[in-house]
Symmetry: C2
Subunit: 318 residues, 2 copies
Protein backbone atom coordinates (compact mmCIF):
# COMPACT_ATOMS: atom_id res chain seq x y z
CA UNK A 1 0.00 0.00 0.00
CA UNK A 2 1.19 3.53 -0.83
CA UNK A 3 1.73 5.69 2.21
CA UNK A 4 3.09 9.10 3.18
CA UNK A 5 4.85 9.82 6.45
CA UNK A 6 3.60 13.02 8.05
CA UNK A 7 5.71 14.81 10.66
CA UNK A 8 4.53 17.71 12.81
CA UNK A 9 7.32 19.45 14.69
CA UNK A 10 6.00 21.40 17.63
CA UNK A 11 7.69 23.17 20.51
CA UNK A 12 6.58 20.42 22.90
CA UNK A 13 5.92 17.30 20.82
CA UNK A 14 7.12 15.89 17.54
CA UNK A 15 4.33 13.80 16.05
CA UNK A 16 4.91 11.19 13.36
CA UNK A 17 2.31 9.16 11.49
CA UNK A 18 1.54 7.14 8.36
CA UNK A 19 -1.20 8.64 6.20
CA UNK A 20 -3.19 7.09 3.36
CA UNK A 21 -4.32 8.80 0.16
CA UNK A 22 -7.73 9.36 1.78
CA UNK A 23 -6.14 11.22 4.69
CA UNK A 24 -6.51 8.40 7.18
CA UNK A 25 -3.75 8.12 9.75
CA UNK A 26 -3.03 4.37 10.03
CA UNK A 27 -0.58 4.63 12.88
CA UNK A 28 1.06 7.44 14.80
CA UNK A 29 3.43 8.12 17.63
CA UNK A 30 5.27 11.05 19.21
CA UNK A 31 8.29 12.05 21.25
CA UNK A 32 9.34 15.16 23.17
CA UNK A 33 11.07 17.69 20.93
CA UNK A 34 12.93 19.28 23.82
CA UNK A 35 14.69 16.06 24.74
CA UNK A 36 16.86 16.59 21.66
CA UNK A 37 18.58 19.95 21.90
CA UNK A 38 21.31 18.52 19.64
CA UNK A 39 19.87 18.74 16.14
CA UNK A 40 21.80 15.76 14.72
CA UNK A 41 20.49 13.56 17.54
CA UNK A 42 16.98 14.88 16.89
CA UNK A 43 17.28 13.83 13.24
CA UNK A 44 18.51 10.38 14.26
CA UNK A 45 15.49 10.01 16.53
CA UNK A 46 13.15 11.28 13.78
CA UNK A 47 14.56 8.84 11.24
CA UNK A 48 14.37 5.94 13.70
CA UNK A 49 10.76 6.80 14.52
CA UNK A 50 9.63 6.85 10.88
CA UNK A 51 11.56 3.67 10.15
CA UNK A 52 10.08 1.69 13.03
CA UNK A 53 6.53 2.89 12.26
CA UNK A 54 6.89 1.59 8.70
CA UNK A 55 8.72 -1.64 9.60
CA UNK A 56 6.36 -2.52 12.46
CA UNK A 57 3.26 -2.10 10.31
CA UNK A 58 1.66 -5.50 9.56
CA UNK A 59 1.33 -4.79 5.81
CA UNK A 60 4.00 -3.94 3.25
CA UNK A 61 4.14 -0.18 2.82
CA UNK A 62 5.51 1.85 -0.06
CA UNK A 63 6.60 5.22 1.36
CA UNK A 64 5.93 7.82 -1.34
CA UNK A 65 7.56 10.59 0.65
CA UNK A 66 7.74 12.56 3.87
CA UNK A 67 5.87 15.76 4.55
CA UNK A 68 6.96 17.97 7.43
CA UNK A 69 5.16 20.83 9.11
CA UNK A 70 7.15 23.08 11.44
CA UNK A 71 7.07 26.60 12.85
CA UNK A 72 9.04 29.25 10.94
CA UNK A 73 9.71 26.82 8.11
CA UNK A 74 10.82 28.02 4.69
CA UNK A 75 9.34 25.78 2.01
CA UNK A 76 11.69 27.31 -0.51
CA UNK A 77 14.92 26.60 1.36
CA UNK A 78 13.89 23.52 3.33
CA UNK A 79 15.01 25.24 6.51
CA UNK A 80 13.60 26.25 9.88
CA UNK A 81 14.70 29.78 10.75
CA UNK A 82 14.81 31.35 14.22
CA UNK A 83 11.78 29.49 15.57
CA UNK A 84 11.12 31.00 18.99
CA UNK A 85 9.50 27.80 20.33
CA UNK A 86 12.31 25.44 19.26
CA UNK A 87 15.69 24.89 20.89
CA UNK A 88 17.77 24.88 17.68
CA UNK A 89 18.80 28.44 17.04
CA UNK A 90 19.54 30.19 13.77
CA UNK A 91 18.84 28.46 10.46
CA UNK A 92 18.42 24.67 10.56
CA UNK A 93 18.63 22.88 7.16
CA UNK A 94 16.26 20.09 8.14
CA UNK A 95 15.41 18.77 4.66
CA UNK A 96 19.02 18.45 3.50
CA UNK A 97 20.00 16.78 6.79
CA UNK A 98 17.11 14.33 6.72
CA UNK A 99 17.83 13.48 3.08
CA UNK A 100 21.25 12.25 4.26
CA UNK A 101 19.37 9.62 6.27
CA UNK A 102 16.44 8.65 4.02
CA UNK A 103 16.27 9.13 0.28
CA UNK A 104 12.59 9.71 -0.48
CA UNK A 105 10.80 12.83 -1.76
CA UNK A 106 10.45 15.34 1.09
CA UNK A 107 8.72 18.63 1.58
CA UNK A 108 8.80 21.09 4.43
CA UNK A 109 6.25 23.78 5.14
CA UNK A 110 5.11 26.19 7.80
CA UNK A 111 2.78 24.21 10.08
CA UNK A 112 -0.20 26.45 9.41
CA UNK A 113 0.30 26.18 5.64
CA UNK A 114 0.44 22.39 6.00
CA UNK A 115 -2.83 22.58 7.94
CA UNK A 116 -4.37 24.54 5.05
CA UNK A 117 -3.27 21.95 2.52
CA UNK A 118 -4.65 19.19 4.77
CA UNK A 119 -7.96 21.04 5.03
CA UNK A 120 -8.13 21.29 1.23
CA UNK A 121 -7.20 17.66 0.52
CA UNK A 122 -8.84 15.87 3.45
CA UNK A 123 -10.95 18.32 5.47
CA UNK A 124 -13.72 20.89 5.19
CA UNK A 125 -12.15 23.01 2.45
CA UNK A 126 -12.54 20.40 -0.30
CA UNK A 127 -13.42 22.20 -3.54
CA UNK A 128 -12.68 25.66 -2.13
CA UNK A 129 -10.18 27.89 -3.90
CA UNK A 130 -9.94 30.81 -1.49
CA UNK A 131 -9.73 30.20 2.23
CA UNK A 132 -7.56 30.78 5.30
CA UNK A 133 -6.77 28.33 8.08
CA UNK A 134 -6.06 30.02 11.41
CA UNK A 135 -4.32 28.02 14.14
CA UNK A 136 -4.76 29.42 17.63
CA UNK A 137 -2.52 27.42 19.92
CA UNK A 138 0.56 28.51 21.84
CA UNK A 139 1.01 30.95 18.99
CA UNK A 140 -1.06 32.30 16.10
CA UNK A 141 -0.52 30.79 12.64
CA UNK A 142 -2.18 31.18 9.27
CA UNK A 143 -2.20 29.15 6.06
CA UNK A 144 -3.58 31.11 3.12
CA UNK A 145 -4.97 29.60 -0.07
CA UNK A 146 -5.89 31.84 -3.02
CA UNK A 147 -6.75 30.76 -6.58
CA UNK A 148 -6.55 27.18 -5.30
CA UNK A 149 -2.89 27.56 -4.41
CA UNK A 150 -1.08 28.00 -1.14
CA UNK A 151 0.49 31.44 -0.78
CA UNK A 152 4.12 30.78 0.02
CA UNK A 153 5.56 34.19 -0.58
CA UNK A 154 8.79 35.15 -2.27
CA UNK A 155 10.93 33.38 0.27
CA UNK A 156 8.48 30.85 1.74
CA UNK A 157 7.51 32.89 4.80
CA UNK A 158 4.02 34.10 3.94
CA UNK A 159 1.26 33.89 6.55
CA UNK A 160 3.13 35.08 9.66
CA UNK A 161 -0.01 36.89 10.73
CA UNK A 162 0.62 36.43 14.45
CA UNK A 163 3.15 39.21 14.13
CA UNK A 164 0.88 41.72 12.46
CA UNK A 165 0.67 44.80 14.66
CA UNK A 166 -2.93 45.80 15.33
CA UNK A 167 -2.21 48.76 17.58
CA UNK A 168 -0.03 51.27 15.71
CA UNK A 169 2.86 50.24 17.90
CA UNK A 170 1.11 50.66 21.24
CA UNK A 171 0.49 47.20 22.62
CA UNK A 172 1.79 43.92 24.03
CA UNK A 173 5.04 42.34 22.83
CA UNK A 174 4.96 38.97 21.03
CA UNK A 175 7.62 36.31 21.52
CA UNK A 176 9.42 37.78 18.51
CA UNK A 177 9.34 41.23 20.05
CA UNK A 178 6.62 42.67 17.82
CA UNK A 179 4.74 45.33 19.76
CA UNK A 180 0.99 44.98 19.43
CA UNK A 181 1.35 41.70 17.51
CA UNK A 182 -1.82 39.67 17.18
CA UNK A 183 -0.33 36.57 18.75
CA UNK A 184 0.13 38.43 22.04
CA UNK A 185 -3.67 38.70 22.22
CA UNK A 186 -5.22 35.94 20.16
CA UNK A 187 -3.73 32.58 21.13
CA UNK A 188 -3.95 30.27 24.11
CA UNK A 189 -1.11 32.27 25.69
CA UNK A 190 -2.71 35.57 24.74
CA UNK A 191 -5.90 34.57 26.54
CA UNK A 192 -3.93 33.94 29.72
CA UNK A 193 -2.31 37.36 29.42
CA UNK A 194 -5.78 38.85 28.99
CA UNK A 195 -6.97 37.20 32.21
CA UNK A 196 -4.24 39.16 34.03
CA UNK A 197 -5.13 42.33 32.13
CA UNK A 198 -8.80 42.03 33.06
CA UNK A 199 -7.98 41.46 36.72
CA UNK A 200 -5.78 44.57 36.60
CA UNK A 201 -8.56 46.57 34.97
CA UNK A 202 -11.59 45.39 36.93
CA UNK A 203 -12.10 44.47 40.57
CA UNK A 204 -14.59 41.60 39.89
CA UNK A 205 -14.26 38.54 42.07
CA UNK A 206 -12.69 35.69 40.11
CA UNK A 207 -11.27 32.25 40.71
CA UNK A 208 -8.16 33.47 38.90
CA UNK A 209 -7.27 35.85 41.71
CA UNK A 210 -5.90 32.83 43.58
CA UNK A 211 -4.12 31.16 40.63
CA UNK A 212 -0.62 32.12 39.47
CA UNK A 213 0.02 32.82 35.77
CA UNK A 214 2.23 29.75 35.40
CA UNK A 215 -0.49 27.52 36.85
CA UNK A 216 -3.15 28.86 34.50
CA UNK A 217 -4.47 26.57 31.75
CA UNK A 218 -6.83 27.20 28.87
CA UNK A 219 -9.31 24.57 30.04
CA UNK A 220 -9.61 26.34 33.41
CA UNK A 221 -10.64 29.51 31.64
CA UNK A 222 -13.34 27.66 29.69
CA UNK A 223 -14.58 26.05 32.87
CA UNK A 224 -14.64 29.39 34.65
CA UNK A 225 -16.69 30.91 31.81
CA UNK A 226 -19.19 28.07 32.18
CA UNK A 227 -19.50 28.97 35.85
CA UNK A 228 -20.08 32.62 34.98
CA UNK A 229 -16.72 33.93 36.18
CA UNK A 230 -16.83 37.60 35.08
CA UNK A 231 -13.09 37.83 34.42
CA UNK A 232 -13.18 34.75 32.18
CA UNK A 233 -16.19 36.12 30.29
CA UNK A 234 -14.55 39.51 29.83
CA UNK A 235 -11.34 37.84 28.63
CA UNK A 236 -13.17 35.78 26.00
CA UNK A 237 -15.09 38.83 24.83
CA UNK A 238 -11.92 40.90 24.55
CA UNK A 239 -10.11 38.11 22.68
CA UNK A 240 -13.03 37.58 20.30
CA UNK A 241 -13.17 41.32 19.62
CA UNK A 242 -9.53 41.46 18.53
CA UNK A 243 -9.76 38.19 16.58
CA UNK A 244 -12.93 39.41 14.82
CA UNK A 245 -11.16 42.58 13.82
CA UNK A 246 -8.11 40.65 12.62
CA UNK A 247 -10.20 38.28 10.49
CA UNK A 248 -12.06 41.27 9.03
CA UNK A 249 -8.68 42.80 8.15
CA UNK A 250 -7.46 39.56 6.55
CA UNK A 251 -10.67 39.45 4.53
CA UNK A 252 -9.73 42.79 2.98
CA UNK A 253 -6.50 41.18 1.83
CA UNK A 254 -7.47 38.00 -0.01
CA UNK A 255 -11.26 37.80 0.47
CA UNK A 256 -11.49 34.14 1.47
CA UNK A 257 -14.71 32.19 1.13
CA UNK A 258 -14.13 30.82 4.63
CA UNK A 259 -11.87 30.89 7.65
CA UNK A 260 -11.18 27.53 9.30
CA UNK A 261 -10.40 27.83 12.97
CA UNK A 262 -8.47 25.31 15.00
CA UNK A 263 -6.15 25.02 17.97
CA UNK A 264 -6.40 25.22 21.76
CA UNK A 265 -8.24 28.54 21.91
CA UNK A 266 -10.99 27.21 19.64
CA UNK A 267 -11.34 24.25 22.02
CA UNK A 268 -13.13 26.72 24.29
CA UNK A 269 -16.08 26.40 21.91
CA UNK A 270 -18.96 28.85 22.09
CA UNK A 271 -17.23 31.08 24.65
CA UNK A 272 -14.91 32.25 21.90
CA UNK A 273 -16.93 31.51 18.73
CA UNK A 274 -20.22 33.20 19.69
CA UNK A 275 -18.75 36.64 20.44
CA UNK A 276 -16.35 36.13 17.52
CA UNK A 277 -19.22 35.80 15.03
CA UNK A 278 -20.76 39.03 16.28
CA UNK A 279 -17.53 41.05 16.24
CA UNK A 280 -16.39 39.65 12.89
CA UNK A 281 -19.64 40.69 11.27
CA UNK A 282 -19.50 44.12 12.92
CA UNK A 283 -16.00 44.80 11.60
CA UNK A 284 -16.49 43.36 8.13
CA UNK A 285 -16.61 45.89 5.32
CA UNK A 286 -20.09 46.18 3.78
CA UNK A 287 -18.94 44.62 0.51
CA UNK A 288 -17.94 41.40 2.31
CA UNK A 289 -20.86 41.01 4.70
CA UNK A 290 -22.64 37.67 4.49
CA UNK A 291 -20.01 36.27 2.10
CA UNK A 292 -17.35 34.94 4.48
CA UNK A 293 -17.93 31.80 6.56
CA UNK A 294 -16.38 31.09 9.95
CA UNK A 295 -15.96 27.32 10.14
CA UNK A 296 -14.40 24.71 12.36
CA UNK A 297 -11.58 22.70 10.87
CA UNK A 298 -12.54 19.28 9.52
CA UNK A 299 -9.16 17.97 10.62
CA UNK A 300 -10.00 16.62 14.03
CA UNK A 301 -8.10 14.84 16.73
CA UNK A 302 -4.49 14.39 17.60
CA UNK A 303 -3.40 13.35 14.09
CA UNK A 304 -4.73 16.48 12.31
CA UNK A 305 -1.28 18.07 12.04
CA UNK A 306 0.25 14.78 10.86
CA UNK A 307 -2.32 14.52 8.06
CA UNK A 308 -1.70 18.16 7.13
CA UNK A 309 2.02 17.48 6.81
CA UNK A 310 1.34 14.35 4.75
CA UNK A 311 -0.83 16.43 2.41
CA UNK A 312 2.34 18.16 1.19
CA UNK A 313 3.29 14.91 -0.56
CA UNK A 314 -0.20 13.59 -1.37
CA UNK A 315 -0.87 16.86 -3.20
CA UNK A 316 1.50 15.62 -5.93
CA UNK A 317 -0.31 12.28 -6.27
CA UNK A 318 -3.88 13.48 -6.89
CA UNK B 1 -2.83 46.27 -36.04
CA UNK B 2 -4.15 44.45 -32.96
CA UNK B 3 -5.16 46.80 -30.19
CA UNK B 4 -6.85 46.74 -26.78
CA UNK B 5 -9.00 49.57 -25.48
CA UNK B 6 -8.15 50.43 -21.86
CA UNK B 7 -10.64 52.29 -19.70
CA UNK B 8 -9.91 53.74 -16.28
CA UNK B 9 -13.01 54.87 -14.40
CA UNK B 10 -12.14 57.34 -11.67
CA UNK B 11 -14.25 59.53 -9.41
CA UNK B 12 -13.22 62.62 -11.38
CA UNK B 13 -12.13 61.46 -14.84
CA UNK B 14 -12.87 58.54 -17.12
CA UNK B 15 -9.78 57.86 -19.22
CA UNK B 16 -9.89 55.88 -22.45
CA UNK B 17 -6.99 54.81 -24.64
CA UNK B 18 -5.73 52.37 -27.27
CA UNK B 19 -2.89 50.16 -26.09
CA UNK B 20 -0.49 48.00 -28.11
CA UNK B 21 0.83 44.59 -27.12
CA UNK B 22 4.00 46.29 -25.86
CA UNK B 23 2.00 48.47 -23.49
CA UNK B 24 2.31 51.63 -25.57
CA UNK B 25 -0.71 53.93 -25.48
CA UNK B 26 -1.20 55.08 -29.11
CA UNK B 27 -3.93 57.55 -28.41
CA UNK B 28 -5.98 58.55 -25.37
CA UNK B 29 -8.70 60.91 -24.24
CA UNK B 30 -10.89 61.54 -21.21
CA UNK B 31 -14.19 62.98 -20.05
CA UNK B 32 -15.63 63.96 -16.67
CA UNK B 33 -17.29 61.01 -14.94
CA UNK B 34 -19.55 63.23 -12.86
CA UNK B 35 -21.16 64.78 -15.92
CA UNK B 36 -23.05 61.49 -16.37
CA UNK B 37 -25.02 60.72 -13.21
CA UNK B 38 -27.38 58.66 -15.41
CA UNK B 39 -25.57 55.36 -15.91
CA UNK B 40 -27.10 54.57 -19.32
CA UNK B 41 -25.97 57.96 -20.62
CA UNK B 42 -22.53 57.29 -19.18
CA UNK B 43 -22.33 54.02 -21.11
CA UNK B 44 -23.42 55.77 -24.31
CA UNK B 45 -20.64 58.30 -23.83
CA UNK B 46 -18.12 55.54 -23.04
CA UNK B 47 -19.08 53.59 -26.16
CA UNK B 48 -18.96 56.71 -28.35
CA UNK B 49 -15.52 57.60 -26.97
CA UNK B 50 -14.02 54.17 -27.71
CA UNK B 51 -15.62 54.11 -31.15
CA UNK B 52 -14.34 57.53 -32.20
CA UNK B 53 -10.82 56.78 -30.89
CA UNK B 54 -10.70 53.65 -33.06
CA UNK B 55 -12.38 55.18 -36.12
CA UNK B 56 -10.30 58.36 -36.05
CA UNK B 57 -7.02 56.44 -35.89
CA UNK B 58 -5.12 56.72 -39.17
CA UNK B 59 -4.42 52.97 -39.38
CA UNK B 60 -6.85 50.04 -39.45
CA UNK B 61 -7.21 48.65 -35.93
CA UNK B 62 -8.41 45.24 -34.81
CA UNK B 63 -9.87 45.66 -31.31
CA UNK B 64 -9.10 42.46 -29.38
CA UNK B 65 -11.12 43.54 -26.39
CA UNK B 66 -11.78 46.13 -23.72
CA UNK B 67 -10.20 46.16 -20.26
CA UNK B 68 -11.76 48.28 -17.55
CA UNK B 69 -10.33 49.34 -14.21
CA UNK B 70 -12.73 50.86 -11.65
CA UNK B 71 -13.03 51.35 -7.90
CA UNK B 72 -14.99 48.66 -6.00
CA UNK B 73 -15.18 46.49 -9.10
CA UNK B 74 -15.99 42.79 -8.88
CA UNK B 75 -14.09 40.90 -11.57
CA UNK B 76 -16.27 37.87 -10.94
CA UNK B 77 -19.63 39.60 -11.46
CA UNK B 78 -18.58 42.36 -13.86
CA UNK B 79 -20.14 44.89 -11.52
CA UNK B 80 -19.19 48.00 -9.59
CA UNK B 81 -20.62 47.88 -6.08
CA UNK B 82 -21.20 50.81 -3.73
CA UNK B 83 -18.20 52.82 -4.90
CA UNK B 84 -18.02 55.81 -2.54
CA UNK B 85 -16.33 58.04 -5.16
CA UNK B 86 -18.85 57.37 -7.96
CA UNK B 87 -22.35 58.78 -8.41
CA UNK B 88 -24.07 55.51 -9.39
CA UNK B 89 -25.28 53.89 -6.19
CA UNK B 90 -25.78 50.23 -5.38
CA UNK B 91 -24.59 47.56 -7.81
CA UNK B 92 -23.92 48.63 -11.40
CA UNK B 93 -23.63 45.78 -13.98
CA UNK B 94 -21.19 47.62 -16.20
CA UNK B 95 -19.89 44.67 -18.25
CA UNK B 96 -23.32 43.32 -19.18
CA UNK B 97 -24.55 46.82 -20.09
CA UNK B 98 -21.50 47.63 -22.18
CA UNK B 99 -21.76 44.27 -23.97
CA UNK B 100 -25.19 45.41 -25.19
CA UNK B 101 -23.39 48.19 -27.08
CA UNK B 102 -20.15 46.52 -28.28
CA UNK B 103 -19.62 42.82 -28.70
CA UNK B 104 -15.91 42.24 -27.99
CA UNK B 105 -14.23 40.38 -25.09
CA UNK B 106 -14.36 42.53 -21.97
CA UNK B 107 -12.91 42.33 -18.49
CA UNK B 108 -13.47 44.45 -15.42
CA UNK B 109 -11.20 44.68 -12.42
CA UNK B 110 -10.52 46.72 -9.34
CA UNK B 111 -8.29 49.62 -10.46
CA UNK B 112 -5.43 48.66 -8.18
CA UNK B 113 -5.51 45.05 -9.42
CA UNK B 114 -5.43 46.34 -12.99
CA UNK B 115 -2.40 48.43 -12.02
CA UNK B 116 -0.71 45.28 -10.69
CA UNK B 117 -1.35 43.41 -13.92
CA UNK B 118 -0.05 46.40 -15.89
CA UNK B 119 3.10 46.44 -13.74
CA UNK B 120 3.63 42.73 -14.43
CA UNK B 121 3.07 42.91 -18.19
CA UNK B 122 4.50 46.34 -19.04
CA UNK B 123 6.19 47.82 -15.96
CA UNK B 124 8.81 47.11 -13.30
CA UNK B 125 7.38 43.79 -12.08
CA UNK B 126 8.26 41.85 -15.24
CA UNK B 127 9.29 38.34 -14.22
CA UNK B 128 8.18 38.73 -10.60
CA UNK B 129 5.72 36.25 -9.13
CA UNK B 130 5.02 37.81 -5.73
CA UNK B 131 4.50 41.55 -5.43
CA UNK B 132 2.00 44.17 -4.31
CA UNK B 133 1.12 47.42 -6.06
CA UNK B 134 -0.04 50.14 -3.68
CA UNK B 135 -1.89 53.16 -5.08
CA UNK B 136 -1.90 56.20 -2.81
CA UNK B 137 -4.21 58.74 -4.39
CA UNK B 138 -7.54 60.07 -3.16
CA UNK B 139 -7.87 56.67 -1.53
CA UNK B 140 -5.63 53.68 -0.78
CA UNK B 141 -5.72 50.71 -3.15
CA UNK B 142 -3.76 47.48 -3.46
CA UNK B 143 -3.28 44.92 -6.21
CA UNK B 144 -1.76 41.70 -4.92
CA UNK B 145 0.06 39.11 -7.03
CA UNK B 146 1.09 35.75 -5.52
CA UNK B 147 2.38 32.68 -7.34
CA UNK B 148 2.31 34.82 -10.50
CA UNK B 149 -1.45 35.28 -10.27
CA UNK B 150 -3.60 38.18 -9.22
CA UNK B 151 -5.44 37.53 -5.95
CA UNK B 152 -9.06 38.19 -6.76
CA UNK B 153 -10.71 36.65 -3.74
CA UNK B 154 -13.82 34.53 -3.56
CA UNK B 155 -16.04 37.28 -4.84
CA UNK B 156 -13.57 39.49 -6.68
CA UNK B 157 -13.05 42.01 -3.87
CA UNK B 158 -9.59 41.15 -2.58
CA UNK B 159 -7.11 43.92 -1.86
CA UNK B 160 -9.34 46.47 -0.12
CA UNK B 161 -6.46 47.28 2.20
CA UNK B 162 -7.42 50.92 2.63
CA UNK B 163 -10.09 49.72 5.01
CA UNK B 164 -7.85 47.64 7.23
CA UNK B 165 -8.07 48.97 10.76
CA UNK B 166 -4.64 49.65 12.24
CA UNK B 167 -5.77 51.00 15.60
CA UNK B 168 -7.95 48.42 17.35
CA UNK B 169 -10.97 50.57 16.63
CA UNK B 170 -9.57 53.80 18.04
CA UNK B 171 -8.86 56.04 15.08
CA UNK B 172 -10.05 58.13 12.17
CA UNK B 173 -13.02 57.13 10.03
CA UNK B 174 -12.53 56.29 6.33
CA UNK B 175 -15.02 57.26 3.63
CA UNK B 176 -16.63 53.85 4.12
CA UNK B 177 -16.95 54.43 7.86
CA UNK B 178 -14.14 52.11 8.94
CA UNK B 179 -12.66 53.42 12.16
CA UNK B 180 -8.88 53.49 12.10
CA UNK B 181 -8.82 52.47 8.42
CA UNK B 182 -5.49 52.91 6.69
CA UNK B 183 -6.89 55.12 3.94
CA UNK B 184 -7.80 57.75 6.52
CA UNK B 185 -4.07 58.15 7.19
CA UNK B 186 -2.15 57.00 4.16
CA UNK B 187 -3.48 58.68 1.02
CA UNK B 188 -3.39 62.16 -0.45
CA UNK B 189 -6.50 62.96 1.61
CA UNK B 190 -5.05 61.30 4.73
CA UNK B 191 -1.98 63.53 4.50
CA UNK B 192 -4.21 66.62 4.51
CA UNK B 193 -6.02 65.32 7.59
CA UNK B 194 -2.65 64.79 9.24
CA UNK B 195 -1.67 68.43 8.56
CA UNK B 196 -4.69 69.45 10.65
CA UNK B 197 -3.85 66.89 13.32
CA UNK B 198 -0.27 68.14 13.62
CA UNK B 199 -1.42 71.76 13.89
CA UNK B 200 -3.78 70.69 16.66
CA UNK B 201 -1.03 68.80 18.45
CA UNK B 202 1.89 71.24 18.08
CA UNK B 203 2.10 75.02 18.14
CA UNK B 204 4.85 75.31 15.46
CA UNK B 205 4.53 78.14 13.00
CA UNK B 206 3.35 76.88 9.62
CA UNK B 207 2.12 78.25 6.32
CA UNK B 208 -0.87 75.92 6.75
CA UNK B 209 -2.20 77.96 9.68
CA UNK B 210 -3.53 80.42 7.09
CA UNK B 211 -4.88 77.89 4.58
CA UNK B 212 -8.32 76.25 4.89
CA UNK B 213 -8.63 72.46 4.57
CA UNK B 214 -10.57 72.73 1.31
CA UNK B 215 -7.85 74.89 -0.21
CA UNK B 216 -5.09 72.50 0.75
CA UNK B 217 -3.34 70.54 -2.04
CA UNK B 218 -0.76 67.77 -1.93
CA UNK B 219 1.76 69.78 -3.94
CA UNK B 220 1.61 72.58 -1.36
CA UNK B 221 2.58 70.13 1.37
CA UNK B 222 5.57 68.93 -0.66
CA UNK B 223 6.62 72.53 -1.31
CA UNK B 224 6.27 73.38 2.37
CA UNK B 225 8.46 70.42 3.32
CA UNK B 226 11.11 71.69 0.90
CA UNK B 227 10.99 75.04 2.70
CA UNK B 228 11.41 73.30 6.06
CA UNK B 229 7.85 73.86 7.33
CA UNK B 230 7.82 71.87 10.60
CA UNK B 231 4.14 70.88 10.32
CA UNK B 232 4.67 69.50 6.79
CA UNK B 233 7.76 67.57 7.92
CA UNK B 234 5.92 66.12 10.91
CA UNK B 235 2.97 65.15 8.70
CA UNK B 236 5.19 63.29 6.22
CA UNK B 237 7.00 61.51 9.04
CA UNK B 238 3.72 60.44 10.68
CA UNK B 239 2.30 59.23 7.35
CA UNK B 240 5.47 57.31 6.51
CA UNK B 241 5.41 55.70 9.97
CA UNK B 242 1.89 54.33 9.47
CA UNK B 243 2.55 53.30 5.85
CA UNK B 244 5.77 51.57 6.90
CA UNK B 245 3.89 49.63 9.55
CA UNK B 246 1.12 48.74 7.09
CA UNK B 247 3.58 47.46 4.47
CA UNK B 248 5.34 45.42 7.17
CA UNK B 249 1.96 43.92 8.10
CA UNK B 250 1.14 43.12 4.46
CA UNK B 251 4.53 41.43 4.16
CA UNK B 252 3.50 39.02 6.91
CA UNK B 253 0.52 38.08 4.76
CA UNK B 254 1.91 37.22 1.34
CA UNK B 255 5.63 38.01 1.63
CA UNK B 256 6.03 39.92 -1.63
CA UNK B 257 9.40 40.36 -3.30
CA UNK B 258 8.58 44.02 -3.81
CA UNK B 259 6.04 46.75 -3.20
CA UNK B 260 5.43 49.14 -6.10
CA UNK B 261 4.27 52.55 -4.97
CA UNK B 262 2.32 55.00 -7.07
CA UNK B 263 -0.27 57.76 -6.82
CA UNK B 264 -0.39 61.37 -5.66
CA UNK B 265 1.19 60.81 -2.25
CA UNK B 266 4.23 59.17 -3.85
CA UNK B 267 4.54 62.26 -6.06
CA UNK B 268 5.92 63.96 -2.93
CA UNK B 269 9.11 61.97 -3.56
CA UNK B 270 11.80 61.76 -0.90
CA UNK B 271 9.68 63.50 1.74
CA UNK B 272 7.57 60.38 1.96
CA UNK B 273 9.92 57.67 0.65
CA UNK B 274 12.96 58.43 2.81
CA UNK B 275 11.19 58.14 6.19
CA UNK B 276 9.14 55.25 4.74
CA UNK B 277 12.27 53.17 4.05
CA UNK B 278 13.44 53.66 7.62
CA UNK B 279 10.09 52.85 9.27
CA UNK B 280 9.38 49.90 6.98
CA UNK B 281 12.70 48.32 7.87
CA UNK B 282 12.13 49.01 11.59
CA UNK B 283 8.74 47.30 11.60
CA UNK B 284 9.68 44.36 9.39
CA UNK B 285 9.89 41.01 11.14
CA UNK B 286 13.48 39.72 11.36
CA UNK B 287 12.77 36.87 8.93
CA UNK B 288 11.81 39.36 6.18
CA UNK B 289 14.51 41.99 6.67
CA UNK B 290 16.54 42.77 3.57
CA UNK B 291 14.28 40.65 1.38
CA UNK B 292 11.50 43.08 0.43
CA UNK B 293 12.09 45.93 -2.02
CA UNK B 294 10.27 49.26 -2.02
CA UNK B 295 10.09 50.38 -5.65
CA UNK B 296 8.51 53.06 -7.77
CA UNK B 297 5.98 51.93 -10.35
CA UNK B 298 7.29 51.60 -13.91
CA UNK B 299 3.90 52.72 -15.20
CA UNK B 300 4.49 56.43 -15.61
CA UNK B 301 2.44 59.31 -16.84
CA UNK B 302 -1.22 59.97 -17.42
CA UNK B 303 -1.85 56.77 -19.39
CA UNK B 304 -0.57 54.36 -16.68
CA UNK B 305 -4.08 53.41 -15.54
CA UNK B 306 -5.25 52.97 -19.14
CA UNK B 307 -2.37 50.57 -19.84
CA UNK B 308 -3.13 48.69 -16.61
CA UNK B 309 -6.75 48.23 -17.70
CA UNK B 310 -5.65 47.08 -21.17
CA UNK B 311 -3.37 44.50 -19.53
CA UNK B 312 -6.52 42.60 -18.45
CA UNK B 313 -7.05 41.66 -22.10
CA UNK B 314 -3.41 41.53 -23.24
CA UNK B 315 -2.76 38.99 -20.48
CA UNK B 316 -4.74 36.47 -22.57
CA UNK B 317 -2.69 37.16 -25.70
CA UNK B 318 0.84 36.60 -24.38
Amino acid sequence: MDIVAGIDIGGTKTKVGLVTKEGKCLKSTWFRTREYPDFEKYLDKLYATVKSLVNDYPEDLNVLGIGIGAPNASSRHGTIENASNLLWKGTVPILAKLQERISVPMKLMNDASAAALGEMLFGNAKGMKDFIVVTLGTGFGAGIVANGQLIDGYDGFAGELGHVDMTLGDGRLTGLGVRGGLEAYVSATGLKRTILFMMSKYMDESRFRSIAFNDLHGEDITKAAEEGDPIALKAFDYTADILGQALANFTAFSQPEAFFLLGGLIGSGKWITEPLKKYFNDYLLEVYKGKVKLMYSGMKGKTAAICGAAALIWEDHQ
